[in-house]
């Protein structure tokens, strides 16, 4: 990813972001609200068009035919998006389908897998996230944590090369967060390439291979969790972590 810029009208949401996402590793994006984390993530699968620079996955440019060139056609874009799974903060499950159908739908419609086989794969994917017994439930009959796990299964079942998570736990009650983080840890252990926007510093600290700190559309600091959390060199990063710790300490 090189020199990516994104404008909303006058407002520049991303400022010359250059970043390498190591394959098979977990990269966590942290930073204050409004710093452009979601925007960056959404540029990677081209839900937002970026305005300058380029994003590549395995040497394939995303969204444009060449840097600064024409937009990709609909078919090419869809093909490209197959390789990128995304899990949203609000889950965005389809309410009229059961958990199983939610997962199988993409397999059937995008990959063209026959229904019976798609349902098999979907059932496996759900079993893997610990929902083998909830395949027939509609999202409205699942807790938030369960819903988010279905969303993860839905993305994983498509066998993407890279998974994007946008604050996958911040719409969840604290008790349910654990379920989802557990599934994500498991994915990480299996060597899935993951980019995770998160407010869960504990997760970032324990699971990430790289942590990236953003502020006001700029990439301020990146490094291993140890570098970022133990020795926050940057002043803004230090202030951000300080605030976080204060809110969560139990000391008197």
């Amino acid at each position: 990813m090189e020199n990516v810029c994104k404008f909303y009208g006058e407002f520049q949401a991303l400022k010359d972001i250059s970043l390498v996402i190591p394959p098979g590793k977990v990269t966590c994006l942290i930073g204050p609200s409004g710093s452009g984390k979601s925007t960056l993530l959404r540029c990677i699968n081209f839900l937002e068009e970026y305005d300058r620079g380029g994003i590549w996955i395995d040497d394939r440019l995303i969204g444009y035919e060449s840097v600064g060139g024409r937009r990709m056609g609909g078919r090419a874009l869809r093909e490209m998006r197959r390789d990128i799974g995304m899990v949203f903060q609000q889950f965005n499950l389809w309410p009229h389908m059961t958990a199983l159908q939610n997962v199988a739908e993409g397999l059937e419609r995008v990959k063209g897998i026959p229904r019976a086989r798609a349902h098999e794969i979907a059932a496996e994917a759900l079993a893997k996230v610990g929902l083998g017994d909830k395949t027939g439930n509609h999202p409205s009959r699942l807790s938030g944590g369960q819903q988010q796990r279905v969303a993860i299964a839905r993305a994983v079942a498509m066998q993407p090369r890279i998974m994007l998570f946008d604050e996958p736990t911040s719409a969840l009650d604290p008790e349910l967060v654990g379920e989802v983080l557990g599934v994500m840890k498991q994915l990480a252990a299996e060597g899935m390439t993951m980019v995770v926007v998160t407010h869960e510093m504990g997760f970032a600290a324990h699971v990430a291979d790289r942590v990236v700190f953003m502020e006001r559309g700029e990439l301020v600091a990146q490094g291993s969790p140890a570098e970022i959390f133990q020795n926050p060199g940057d002043r803004r990063l230090a202030a951000f972590l300080q605030g976080y710790l204060e809110r969560n300490s139990l000391e008197l």
Binding site: L47, R81, F88, N92, L93, P95, H138
Partner: protein
């Protein structure tokens, strides 16, 4: 109340019922289809002229009485060389008249589909047509069904205006009976009863569809 009346006019009244129901089904289905198409174009094509034309169509058709539209279509259009028979003209009239109302209902319904659900499908590489068919339409129905049923019920009553262009529907037949026999009370009763049963049936079916479309939402506060 003279039951003899129904011996004589019963068959014609029954035929009228059949014609009314037929016109309502075909007219409503076509109007819904056209309305849906209009809503899709309104949503999908952002070119200004197209938007204006659609807006004008909606406001113009919605703003004028069905009676007048039908009259112009049936008695006026031949001046321009378009001569339709009563039944095709009636069905075309119903289609045109209903379409802007349905278009507005569908437009509101589509706008109410949470963007996230569409983005989730887009992010997975769904084709636009698949997103529409598999995600947007089923989700939209939840909020749009009551309004769709409401307007379909209104259309049942607009079908009586087809009597003006000699479509032999229930109003036409009751008018005949009334004119020949002066049996006013009986005619009114027949009409009232028929429409009440007709509308009640439609709203029952509507409620059942509504329950089916929303069953997955019901039991969680």
């Amino acid at each position: 109340m003279e039951l003899d009346l129904f011996r004589e006019y019963g068959p014609a009244l029954l035929r009228g019922l059949g014609v009314t129901i037929f016109c309502w089904i075909v007219g409503t289905a076509c109007a819904m289809a056209l309305g849906f198409l209009l809503a899709l174009v309104q949503r999908g094509v952002s070119a200004r002229p197209v938007q204006w034309i659609l807006r004008a169509y909606v406001e113009f058709i919605r703003g004028t009485p069905f009676l007048v539209q039908l009259f112009v279509l049936y008695y006026g259009a031949p001046m321009l060389g378009l001569r339709l028979d009563a039944m095709p003209a009636g069905l075309l009239g119903l289609t045109i008249y209903g379409s802007p109302y349905f278009a507005e209902i569908f437009r509101a319904g589509l706008n109410a589909v949470p963007l996230g659900q569409i983005e989730a499908a887009r992010a997975m590489g769904f084709a636009p047509a698949t997103i529409l068919r598999r995600i947007m339409i089923p989700v939209m129905l939840v909020s749009a069904l009551p309004a769709l049923v409401n307007f379909s019920i209104i259309l049942t009553k607009e079908t009586v205006i087809l009597s003006m262009i000699t479509v032999p529907e229930i109003m036409f037949e009751t008018q005949t009976m009334m004119a020949e026999t002066f049996a006013f009370a009986e005619s009114t009763l027949v009409l009232a009863l028929f429409f009440w049963v007709f509308v009640e049936t439609i709203s029952r079916i509507g409620r059942r569809l509504e329950r089916r479309a929303t069953h997955y939402l019901l039991d969680r506060s």
